[in-house]
Structures are given as structure tokens and as C-alpha cells.
């Protein structure tokens, strides 16, 4: 930083940590409780649904205007693939960040684009999944499973979407050449958030999809 007077306003921080980074960590700490509450609710209402469809087991449900036997709605292979893509995108953003820090523009833009694409794929997967479930008779208000499932995964999906928007903004900056190494922090902050969103899914995936 060449602007000494700017530093006069913000002397080096008391802890040495960057203030914005600390803010993101603080925010993430708060978000943990948000998702913990949603996940707890999902677990509390596990097995409490009065009608189907259910996640794994067959049940009686209202479909096409009549009560009938319905299969469990979950399709584990698809979600597993989506999960893998999201996990890999966390790796991609690490590569992108290292590119940003070393001033390797090609590496930065390539990996960051891959991250955004990964995020978009995950969101797309979720939209497809919701659409599919809906046609299997699982509306938002069908039972307490559907309400708590859609609320939990919907909020997670919203977080992924916001992450994609944030990363895309940084990508635009990078393409315009406005992300020199000394500003790599701008990407690091988005990456931190992205890792968090990813970690939350690592909890949601086994708890919601794999636990019977």
C-alpha cells in the first residue's frame, strides 16, 4: 500500500488479522447456528410425517389427485455427483486463489471460471431435484419432511447462489485485470465463504440423504 495517509486511518490491526477476513469468519460462526437450527429441525421431524412421500421408504401419498403407494423420493447417485462437484469446486477456488496471489492471470481466470461453473452445476442439480420431487408428489407443504427438507436445502441453495454471484463478480474483476496479487484478498474472502457453504453441504449430505 503506497498511500500512507490511508494507513493513518487504519493502523495495523490489534491482532494482525485482516479486518475483513475476521468479519467473514465471524459471520461464518453465526451462520453455523443458522444451519444447525435448520438441520436440528429436519432431524426432529424425521419420521413424523403423517403422509408420504418419504425420503427413503415407500408410503401412502397423494399423487395425481388420489392416494396411492409412492416410492421414496431420494436419488442418491445424482446428489452424490452434485456433492462431488461442489467439493471439487472448493479445490478449484484454492487453485484460483493461488493463481491470484502469484499474479498468474491464466490460472486465476481458468480455475475461478471452473469454480463458478461447478457452483452453477450444483444449483442446477438442486433445481432439477426439486422439480423432480415435486412431480413425485412432494410439495413444499406436503408433510413435515418436505417442509423441513426444502427449507434446509433451499437455504443452502440460496447460499450457493449468492456465492456464485460473489465469485462471478470477482471473476469479472479478474478478467478486467483488476485483481492484482495485492488484492487477492478480495478473492480469498469469497473463497472462505465458498468453503463454508461447501462444508455445510458435507454435513447436510450424510445427515439428510444417507441417514435412514
Amino acid at each position: 500500500m503506497s498511500h500512507a495517509d490511508a494507513h493513518a486511518m487504519h493502523p495495523p490491526t490489534a491482532t494482525g488479522l485482516d479486518t475483513r477476513k475476521l468479519a467473514i469468519w465471524t459471520f461464518i460462526g453465526s451462520e453455523c447456528l443458522f444451519f444447525a437450527s435448520l438441520i436440528s429441525t429436519y432431524l426432529v421431524y424425521k419420521g413424523k410425517s403423517l403422509v408420504g412421500p418419504l425420503p427413503h421408504d415407500a408410503s401412502q401419498c397423494m399423487l395425481d389427485g388420489r392416494m396411492q403407494q409412492c416410492e421414496g423420493v431420494f436419488e442418491i447417485p445424482l446428489v452424490t455427483f452434485g456433492t462431488a462437484v461442489l467439493l471439487f469446486s472448493s479445490y478449484f477456488v484454492v487453485k484460483a486463489l493461488s493463481g491470484a496471489q502469484r499474479g498468474n492471470r491464466k490460472q486465476l481466470i481458468g480455475w475461478l471460471s471452473a469454480t463458478v461453473v461447478g457452483g452453477l452445476f450444483f444449483v442446477g442439480m438442486q433445481v432439477y431435484e426439486f422439480y423432480h420431487f415435486f412431480h413425485k408428489g412432494l410439495g413444499y407443504t406436503t408433510n413435515v419432511f418436505s417442509a423441513s427438507f426444502y427449507t434446509l436445502t433451499g437455504f443452502h441453495g440460496t447460499h450457493v447462489t449468492l456465492g456464485v454471484i460473489w465469485l462471478s463478480t470477482v471473476l469479472v474483476l479478474a478478467i478486467r485485470g483488476k485483481l492484482p496479487p495485492e488484492k487477492a484478498l478480495n478473492l480469498e474472502l469469497a473463497a472462505l465463504y465458498w468453503h463454508f457453504v461447501d462444508v455445510v453441504w458435507i454435513v447436510i449430505f450424510p445427515v439428510v440423504y444417507l441417514m435412514k
Binding site: 500500500m1 498511500h3 495517509d5 490511508a6 493513518a8 486511518m9 487504519h10 493502523p11 490491526t13 490489534a14 491482532t15 488479522l17 479486518t19 475483513r20 475476521l22 468479519a23 465471524t26 459471520f27 460462526g29 453465526s30 451462520e31 453455523c32 447456528l33 443458522f34 437450527s37 435448520l38 429441525t41 426432529v44 421431524y45 413424523k48 410425517s49 403423517l50 413444499y140 407443504t141 408433510n143 413435515v144 417442509a147 423441513s148 427449507t151 437455504f155 463478480t169 488484492k183 484478498l185 478480495n186
Partner: protein, 608 residues
């Protein structure tokens, strides 16, 4: 602070007066004053609601208020006092004092700070706008499911409450991130954690509580919102839901919320007592750790609000014991405050009166708290006026007394003139006596069988004269706060004759080292701190009072530019949430659009 735009330094100096300067301000001191003024107005509204409640209950079978009106008033009284008065009064002090006490020029994110305020005020106005539709919230401040379901509360009343609280929650969370980071990162050189003023410590613990408690109520409110708007059944037994889930989520938030309300007042009292005893705070470390311990335990006691739901003997015992445990650190605090007074040289100034009143009254609230920490006793007391008495001793006798004391203490710093001592002391005695007249008989009313939240009571239960005394007491409280406003008015008129020096009380903390009111940049030079009570150390070294600090030219000191994007973003945020209640998806989307537009302009705006 965003570093991305430092290149745009030296933008033209903004205008410093007028409405526009207040709408775009990012100065923590101005935002603090905005918080304080708004919160005080909300406090007066909440107080008026309380007076109407008391007037209805002065005689049995009174027809002054209808049942519907009464239910709206008690709900709004509780909601207003908790979310729109006591919390933002604390926010006023966080804003104004934390940067001054830790030796910083501003908070970590000045525009986020403005955003918090605007979201808060929009939420408060929205919640109170419900009165215009004759649809103020009417399900109690903890809005138990399933009374709040569409089936049993079909009107807009509960919608106003849910969406109003969601908006206010955003404000609290944004502010909590900001202040937590400010305290951790912007301390002046040498201001180690264990040298921080106790108010800063208690504030920091409060931010942690806010950060961990508010997400839970956010989720609880989301469920209630979708139950009401979209027909999910989170709290509806007929759809497989369970109303008790609301109680758990609400109180996991709600009990820490109690400490969110009372820890900042603990901090205020811990600042006032040493200064007016001319003696350092007794047992500083114990005060820090007891505060942290109270906050930690605060997350493990929520079910003591639910003993009457029949949790079973094991859960009852566990939650009873953890609750009783909180009495130990709280006791340590009270004893250490008395220890601070002991052997001191008490200067009987107005702020000290209120701090002493705080201790005397808080003890009563604490002891009645231990009484209903015992589930069998609580089975009789819960949901009666005994509980109403308890939390008014804690929140009025505690929080409000500390806030008024804090107002007298920091007023000269904030506005540059002293409040009248004599009027302040008369106000104290009226408030102290009226407070006890209002709330002490409520213990008896509750034990003699008066449930809370009843718009009337029958004659012949022996409750008549207790209620009459309470109503008379509440009028006394109205007199006390009228006197407070008279004091502000009179002192303001005479401000030229009574200017405040930088250090009117022989203070110990950094805010008293700079002129009253402080200049926009707070400190011409960032101070270096060598121990606790830095100003006392400086005065001792100097061998007496320090010379009056001079106002200096700060044009070479760089400050963040004013910005209206926080206000725009706050409006977008509020419209987005209000859309759930009025206008539906198009309104939601308009809100989202404004929110994103504001946020992007904010992110790419030169910060100066």
C-alpha cells in the same frame, strides 16, 4: 474497511450538517446518537403502552380497553421494550463508546454500521405501523405457537410481528459482526484484551451472544412465516408439526437474549462505580470471567422457561441446576461492585445514584430468579405476575437504571454540556420509589393467583388494591421520565453557561482524554495504552488533572466518505421481507433488486 478503493483518497469534504448529512453519515458517533434518539422515542411509546395497560388494570372488570386492544398493547409493550428500546439503547453506547474506549477512529465497517441503523429503524417503524391498520401484534412477545398459526390468528397482526422481527434481526446481526471485529481488531496499541474497559468486555460478550442467538430466532421465524404464508406445518399438530419446537427455538434465542439485554448495563455500572469511588474496579479478572461464564451458561438454561410444559424430572433437574449455577457468577459481580465501593471515596454525583439503585434493585430481581429456577416453585409462579415482577426488577431496576445512569455519565461527552445534577437526583428518587411501587406488589399479585396477560381480573380475588398501587406507581414513573426530558430541555437551553470539560468526572478511560463532544476523527493521534484505567495513570504521572485538550485541525486525517448506499440497501432489504406480507413475489423481487443494486454500488464505491 474495504481497501480496494484507497486510491480514491481526498474526495471533497462532505457537508457536515443538515438532513442529508445524517442520512448519509458513517460516523459512529452520529449513528450512536441516531440509535439513542430512536430508541428513546420507542422507549416512550413502549412506556405509553405500559401506562394504558396499567390504567386498564387499576380497577377490576374495567372497560377502558377492549380485550383486543389490551392484547395488542401488552405484546407491543414487550416487543418494543426488548427489541426497540433496550437493545438499541445498548447499540447507542456500543456505537458511541467502543471506538472511543479502545482508541479507534471509527468502527471496523462504518457503512455496515449505518446499514444496521437504517435496517433497525425501518424494522421499528414497520412494526409500529401495524397500529395504523389496527393490527398490532397480539400474541405476546414470545408468540407461542400454535396460537400464532393462520387458523387461530388470521389477521395481519402476527405477520407484522414476524416480519418486523426478521428485519430487526438483520440489523442486530450486522451490528454484532461489526462490533465484534472492531473490538478484536481496532484496539489502540497496548490495549490488550485484559486492559479493556469493562464496558467493552461486556459489549464484546454481548456481540458473541447476538451472533450465536439471532440465527436461531431467524430460523424459528422463517418456519412461522412459511406456516402462515405457504401452509407448511412446522408448528401445526394436525400436519405432524409440534408447537413445542417453537418454544425450544425461541428460548434457545430468548435466554441469551436476556443477557444481551443485561450485560451492557453490567458494563455501564462497572464503568460508573470505579470513577465515582475513585478506586479501580474490584476483581477485574473475576468480572470478565463471570460475564463470560454467564453468557456461556446462558445457552444451557433455555428450558427453564418451559418447566410447565412437563419436560420430565430429569430434564427439569438438569435445567434447574444449570439455572441456579448462573446465580454464582452473578453474585460475584454484585459482590465485586460492592467491593469497588468499599474503602472508596464516594462522590455522590447523579450517575452514581443510578448505579447504586441498579445494584439494590437487581439483587431483588436476581433472588426472585433463583426462586423460579426451582421447577416446583416455578410451576406456581410461571405465567403469573410474579414473573412479571421478576423481569421488571431485572430490566427496569437493572437495565433502565443503568441506562439512565449512563446517560447522565456520558451526556457531557456526547453533547458537550452537563445535565442538571439536582433534577437528576430528584428524578432518581421518584424513579426509585415509583419503580418499587409499580413492580413490588406484582410479586404478591402473582403469588395470589393473577396470571399475566389478562386484560382484566374479577373482583373478590384480593387483587384490587395491589393493582391500584401498581397503577399509582406507574404514574410516578411517567413523572420521572417527564422530568428527564425537562432536564434535557433545560440543560440544552443553558448549555452555553454549562459547557462540559473533556473530563468532568475524573474518568479513567480514553473517551475522557478528548474534547467534549469529540471531533469527528476522535483522536488526533492514536493513543498508546500501558495498562488499565489509562487516563488515571496519565493523570497520576502528570501530578494532577490534565490540561484541557485542544480542538485541532484534522483535515490531514482521512475519514470514510459519507454514503447513502447503506440506506438504499436497508430499504431494499426491508421491502424484500415486507413482500411476504403485502404484494407477494413482485414486491419480494423489487426488494431483492434494490438490495443487490445498493450492495453492488456500496461494494464498488470509493470509501475515501
Amino acid at each position: 474497511m474495504a481497501t480496494s478503493a484507497r486510491e480514491h483518497a481526498h474526495a471533497p469534504a462532505p457537508s457536515k450538517t443538515g438532513l442529508w448529512s445524517w442520512l448519509t453519515t458513517v460516523d459512529h458517533k452520529r449513528i450512536g446518537i441516531l440509535y439513542g434518539a430512536s430508541a428513546f422515542i420507542f422507549f416512550l411509546i413502549g412506556g405509553l403502552e405500559a401506562l394504558l395497560i396499567r390504567w386498564q388494570l387499576r380497577i377490576p372488570e374495567n372497560n377502558f380497553l377492549s380485550a383486543e386492544a389490551y392484547n395488542q398493547l401488552f405484546t407491543m409493550h414487550g416487543t418494543t421494550m426488548v427489541f426497540l428500546a433496550v437493545m438499541p439503547l445498548s447499540a447507542m453506547l456500543f456505537n458511541y463508546l467502543i471506538p472511543l474506549m479502545i482508541g479507534a477512529r471509527d468502527v471496523a465497517f462504518p457503512r455496515l454500521n449505518a446499514f444496521s441503523y437504517w435496517v433497525f429503524i425501518l424494522g421499528g417503524l414497520f412494526m409500529n405501523a401495524s397500529f395504523l391498520f389496527n393490527a398490532a401484534p397480539d400474541a405476546g412477545w414470545f408468540g407461542y405457537a400454535n396460537l400464532t398459526s393462520k387458523q387461530y390468528s388470521p389477521g395481519m397482526n402476527v405477520d407484522f410481528w414476524v416480519i418486523g422481527l426478521q428485519i430487526l434481526g438483520v440489523a442486530s446481526l450486522a451490528a454484532a459482526v461489526n462490533f465484534f471485529v472492531t473490538i478484536i481488531n481496532l484496539r489502540a496499541p497496548g490495549m490488550k484484551l485484559m486492559r479493556m474497559p469493562m464496558f467493552v468486555w461486556m459489549s464484546m460478550i454481548t456481540q458473541v451472544l447476538l451472533l450465536l442467538a439471532f440465527p436461531v430466532i431467524t430460523v424459528a421465524l422463517v418456519f412461522l412465516l412459511t406456516d402462515r404464508m405457504f401452509g407448511t406445518g412446522f408448528y401445526i399438530p394436525a400436519q405432524g408439526g409440534d408447537p413445542i419446537l417453537w418454544q425450544h427455538l425461541f428460548w434457545i434465542f430468548g435466554h441469551p437474549e436476556v443477557y444481551i439485554l443485561i450485560l451492557p448495563p453490567f458494563g455501564i455500572v462497572s464503568e460508573i462505580l470505579p470513577v465515582f469511588s475513585r478506586k479501580p474496579l474490584f476483581g477485574y479478572a473475576a468480572m470478565v470471567f463471570s460475564g463470560a461464564f454467564i453468557a456461556f451458561l446462558g445457552f444451557g438454561v433455555w428450558s427453564h422457561h418451559m418447566f410447565s410444559t412437563g419436560l420430565g424430572p430429569i430434564a427439569d433437574s438438569v435445567f434447574s441446576l444449570t439455572t441456579m449455577l448462573i446465580a454464582i457468577p452473578t453474585g460475584v459481580k454484585i459482590f465485586n461492585w460492592i467491593g469497588t465501593l468499599w474503602g472508596g471515596s464516594l462522590q455522590m454525583k447523579t450517575p452514581l445514584y443510578y448505579a447504586l439503585g441498579f445494584i439494590a434493585l437487581f439483587v431483588i430481581g436476581g433472588l426472585s430468579g433463583v426462586m423460579h429456577a426451582s421447577p416446583p416453585a416455578d410451576l406456581q409462579q410461571t405465567d403469573t405476575y410474579f414473573v412479571v415482577a421478576h423481569f421488571h426488577y431485572v430490566l427496569f431496576g437493572g437495565a433502565i437504571f443503568a441506562m439512565v445512569g449512563g446517560a447522565f455519565y456520558w451526556w457531557p461527552k456526547m453533547f458537550g454540556y452537563m445535565l442538571r445534577e439536582g433534577l437528576g437526583k430528584v428524578q432518581f428518587w421518584i424513579m426509585f420509589i415509583a419503580m418499587n411501587l409499580t413492580f413490588f406488589p406484582m410479586h404478591y399479585a402473582g403469588l395470589h393467583g393473577m396470571p399475566r396477560r389478562t386484560y382484566t381480573y374479577v373482583a373478590g380475588l384480593g387483587l384490587d388494591w395491589l393493582n391500584l398501587v401498581e397503577t399509582i406507581g406507574s404514574l410516578g414513573l411517567a413523572v420521572a421520565f417527564t422530568l428527564f426530558m425537562v432536564n434535557i430541555f433545560v440543560s440544552f437551553r443553558g448549555r452555553k453557561a454549562n459547557p462540559a470539560p473533556a473530563d468532568p468526572w475524573n474518568g479513567a478511560t480514553l473517551e475522557w482524554s478528548i474534547p467534549s463532544p469529540p471531533q469527528e476523527f476522535n483522536f488526533p493521534e492514536i493513543p498508546t495504552v500501558e495498562g488499565r484505567d489509562p487516563l488515571w495513570t496519565a493523570k497520576r504521572k502528570h501530578g494532577g488533572p490534565l490540561p484541557e485538550p485542544k480542538r485541532v485541525d484534522g483535515s490531514n486525517i482521512h475519514l470514510p466518505n459519507p454514503s447513502y448506499w447503506p440506506l438504499v440497501t436497508a430499504i431494499g432489504m426491508s421491502i424484500m421481507l415486507i413482500g411476504f406480507m403485502a404484494g407477494g413475489l413482485p414486491v419480494n423481487l423489487i426488494g431483492v433488486a434494490i438490495l443487490f443494486f445498493g450492495a453492488f454500488r456500496w461494494a464498488f464505491e470509493p470509501t475515501g
